[in-house]
Amino acid sequence: MALLEVTDLCAGYNAADVLHGVTFAVEQGGITAILGANGAGKTTLLRAVSGMLRRRGSIRFDGRAIEAMATEDIARLGVAHVPDGRGTFLDLTAEENLRIGAYTRKHRGEVARDLERVFTYFPRLKERRHQQAGTLSGGEQQMLAVSRALMLRPRLLLLDEPSFGLAPLVVQDIFGIMRAINAEEGVSVLLVEQNAGLALDLADNAYVLETGQVVMSGTTEAVRSDEAVRRAYLGY
């Protein structure tokens, strides 16, 4: 059974729907990528999954219906969302940002251990732990955002455009670590990306979203070899 199963999802802002009946799944321990151009509805899709906007349809997480649940309750089930714009608490220190990620966890020893573990993934954050998050570079802030999500000990990680606005080398770095996290911790990932090449390298399954509908889906190999996808999103 898939960890996240979304069926016929419609969602949007105010009166207008952005998603029109989207169906997709994230396998247990898998990485699923959602590709699409600007305005295709990728961010909306993630927001709908974590209950940040009005939605219809069925969303099941680990067999449990979550389409009517509040955002904070979905997070408490183990869904960590790194939102559009990273959602960093700019006036808190880097370490406080990480601690707030572990807010729902009560075991202090485990949280302290996880903090150290996150620092082994991202040693840069350890150096800057007492610095105000707003003063970190874009790459460091993205590392911080991913780490904050990990501090929740999530079963599913929702990542909204982790490559956005970062230098290619930094992106390589972060994607490499994401692969390691997925392999070592068994965290499933739902990744939304404009950079299709990167996303397909990381994921095992992919869906292509166009104006709120899935127009193509399959394993990454299948999607990559599709003529139309290659022309539109990979550019060769």
């Binding site: 904070e72 969302h81 939102p83 959602g87 808190l92 990620g101």
Partner: protein
């Protein structure tokens, strides 16, 4: 010189009260961008509560403690029941609700306790402590209690997970939801803390201004000035602003314009800050791109 020092010290004592109330305003402003105009009246009502308990024979400090606790709970309840439904309403509607709260507390207090001025006891002795000539025991005690409240709040916000969560909510409510924080309850908790701090301020100022339903009108104005001088979104600024306004009020009242016109100091400060430096000393400057 002696008179001057006396003015400064008593300014610090009332300044501490302004600082507490300003801090209560800032706590709510930070997380919701609203100024609770009823903060002063809530404090006044709390003080009446304490007065009733003391009159019923309860020892001062028990009444004090109970009042703080009850005010905290009342603050939480008010947020949940009255403020929550207008959470997403336009600013003017929210302001109307705050004004309504102000009027309700004021008139209910007048109705239950009448508008007759009452004396409110000070827990500190009549004679100055340590035989000093500059500061009365009540003033010294006020400063002490204010500092204790401020330190306790600082420790709470700085070192506890709950305090951290409340700071996070004030900064970024959406992101806070995503890590599982129940934002609505954090706002209610903020109201509770603000009401509790306000209650302390009310009980400390009542022996000086006497207990009556309008006793907080002036105090709230000074607190408002203090919060603005410090920067309306800066807790540290509010505290510093409170002490500054307290001292300034006394010195200008004593040496420049006379005590009758003291309240104008607050008004001049408010208008001055809004005109020349709306962000205050430590507030954030908001720049929007158009």
């Amino acid at each position: 010189m002696e008179a001057f020092l006396h003015q400064v010290f008593s300014g610090l004592a009332t300044g501490g009260i302004y600082a507490s109330l300003a801090l209560a305003l800032v706590m709510i402003y930070q997380s919701t961008n609203h100024i609770n105009f009823a903060q002063g009246e809530m404090a006044m009502f709390s003080t009446y509560l304490a007065w009733s308990m003391i009159n019923a024979g309860l020892p001062y400090w028990w009444a004090f403690l109970l009042t703080v606790l009850i005010s905290f709970v009342a603050g939480v309840v008010i947020e949940r029941i009255i403020i929550r439904p207008v959470e997403h309403a336009p600013v003017l509607s929210v302001v109307t609700v705050f004004i309504a709260l102000l009027v309700i507390f004021n008139s209910v207090a007048g109705w239950i306790f009448t508008y007759t001025i009452k004396t409110f006891p000070s827990p500190f002795p009549e004679q100055p402590l340590f035989g000093n000539r500059y500061i009365s025991s009540h003033e010294l005690g006020s400063i002490g209690i204010t500092l204790m409240v401020l330190v306790a709040l600082y420790l709470f916000f700085r070192f506890t997970p709950l305090g951290l969560a409340m700071r996070a909510v004030a900064q970024n409510p959406l992101s806070s939801r995503l890590v599982g924080i129940r934002v609505g309850w954090m706002l209610a908790l903020g109201w509770g803390l603000a009401a509790a701090v306000g209650a302390v301020a009310g009980m400390l100022v009542a022996p000086v201004v006497y207990l009556e339903p309008n006793m907080m009108a002036g105090v709230l104005l000074y607190a408002f000035a203090a919060a603005l001088v410090g920067g309306i979104d800066s807790p540290f600024g509010a505290v510093l602003g409170g002490f500054m306004v307290g001292v300034l009020e006394n010195l200008i009242g004593a040496y420049v314009i006379g005590t009758e016109l003291k309240l104008t100091v607050a008004l001049v400060l408010i208008i001055g800050v809004l005109l020349f430096k709306p962000s205050g000393m430590f507030g954030k400057v908001f720049v929007s791109r158009v």
